[in-house]
Symmetry: C2
Subunit: 358 residues, 2 copies
Amino acid sequence: INTFRIAAIAGDGIGKEVMPEGLRVLRAAASRFGFALELREFDWASCDWYAQHGQMMPDDWKEQLAGVDAVYFGAVGWPATVPDNVSLWGSLLKFRREFDQYINLRPVRLFEGAPCPLAGRKVGDIDYVVVRENTEGEYTNLGGVMFAGTEREIVIQESVFSRHGADRVLRYAFELANSRQRKALTVATKSNGIAISMPWWDARTDEMARQYPDVRVDKQHIDILCARFVLQPQRFDVVVATNLFGDILSDLGPATTGTIGLAPSANLNPERQFPSLFEPVHGSAPDIYGRRIANPIAMIWSGALMLDFLTQGQGSGRAAHDAIVRAIEDVIRSGPRTPDLGGDAHTEDVGQAIANQV
Amino acid sequence: INTFRIAAIAGDGIGKEVMPEGLRVLRAAASRFGFALELREFDWASCDWYAQHGQMMPDDWKEQLAGVDAVYFGAVGWPATVPDNVSLWGSLLKFRREFDQYINLRPVRLFEGAPCPLAGRKVGDIDYVVVRENTEGEYTNLGGVMFAGTEREIVIQESVFSRHGADRVLRYAFELANSRQRKALTVATKSNGIAISMPWWDARTDEMARQYPDVRVDKQHIDILCARFVLQPQRFDVVVATNLFGDILSDLGPATTGTIGLAPSANLNPERQFPSLFEPVHGSAPDIYGRRIANPIAMIWSGALMLDFLTQGQGSGRAAHDAIVRAIEDVIRSGPRTPDLGGDAHTEDVGQAIANQV
Ligand SMILES: CC(C)[C@H](C(=O)O)[C@@H](O)C(=O)O
Ligand SMILES: CC(C)[C@H](C(=O)O)[C@@H](O)C(=O)O
């Protein structure tokens, strides 16, 4: 019998509300599909913990996670007490970097019954995956302020790209596109405005493209690409982007499917040298926290991606993944639904319904 | 009698198709509202010119523009022959910087008769203005490549922000918000991920906000902000953003109104020390060039913004602006319409119809 050792980190705000539903569904899947779960829950990586300890995570966080197969992660951020850059750099972004989770996979899909904000779109019209570089690029704390506090203040912010980092995410995306029927890869760029890194990113793309003659590659500037996510979503299959552009596209894409409350993500270290991390795309949503109306589906779907990854898409993990996704489809179609989907159910009603069906 | 000296620069691709329609409408407005136009047309700032001269503009471009009140600009870019960063840095981006056009104003508005891609939205639901910083920030050619051409290649791209630059665009946006009925200002940020410049941008916002107690300020991370442009467009009134984020938002916003073929922009030097520049948001669109199907409305509306700015919103300029916008409204409602609006008219049919009505 397979045993998965999972670290469950709920974080802040609605992270604490959706996590129990994610775990509920994982437990249901374990008993149905015959695998064992060894869950360890942690209260650090949260702004509450920060309030007590002056930092987001304990110094020995890596030791505490020793032997863990994956991290199941809620959401972090409580800007009223801890600035977002402090809380995120001290938790989620640390995981992504120090566990070298260089692929952030974010599927975007329109479900039957979801309140699609786009007119006349039906299931199948929006169905693509965003592959986001997850460790470098625009997200840095490099640079500084000169003449600080004066009228002459100048701020430099450095983005850092490496061939190592660009090539591995591009390769992953080309492989993924190549393995799919449409073999269409969109590459986000902004080489007309950002004059050093982006022309270089284009050149890395062109170089990689030579190795994948069957993949149709379409480089698009991020501005018009965002426009097309709205105007022509059916055009997309696999979309690869730098850290920042991937962040933007993977909130915008789910918005076009009705709610970002559905969107899951897989922060992968594909070589499995470090644990991968699975989390909803949405944040901690302080504005709705405490009302038990957060949609747990993004959390639950992220759990399904975790099982799939842990079993390399084989056997019981794949079966459990598929069963969870089917249950999600049914619940979006028939309810119960949280308010973001037009219903009035509570978070736990949705979790319970999906767990029951699994 | 007022005389406006206008430099008309068509540029590349559909810039050459929409410019004649823009000029046609300006001429009609001049004869109707009793002002004179002194037009000077230039063929430089185009990739054709580059092919002959090895650069985008002549060395004495500023002298050639001496005495001009405003630049009326089509679109630049022909990536098949000149890389986009070369063509844009050699033309449009040079104007913005060297003429210190630090405000890029981009109104976004849903018109009756436009094929809105958002379900259930009606006129009035989408009506806001993006105020984009236009001279600094993420658009730089600073940085470089280390270990170039090897596996160890590292690329640094620097963004540069100044208090001077941030404060003037924030002040403009706060003033604008304060002058409007809703007094709601949204500030795009990404301070949770981009750890030096964006927390600093937030701090500049907070500082400025203290001077405008009546303005409701809402800082939103760019990812969720893009999502809300789709999910809750009625929420926005004035949106202020850095150069890159403003670029993204001002393509995405118009996309939600049916087509980026409508969106105008005003690149302003508010102090009038240098000519301001008026251009459509869309690019040169090589994919549709030559078929005479480009929508000239963005170009024409940009001309209206130009007249309004040149007369400081007074007298005949304001009247001409309003008449052009009314004609645009009528033509979108009743046709003729180009294919992006669901019609089958040609570029010049639309220009002619608007000119006739003015
Ligand atoms: C062509 C390009 C450099 C330009 C920009 O990014 O500023 C355009 O997209 C715009 O929005 O005016
Ligand atoms: C919370 C924030 C730092 C994070 C990001 O920008 O990566 C989030 O938006 C995401 O998409 O996972």
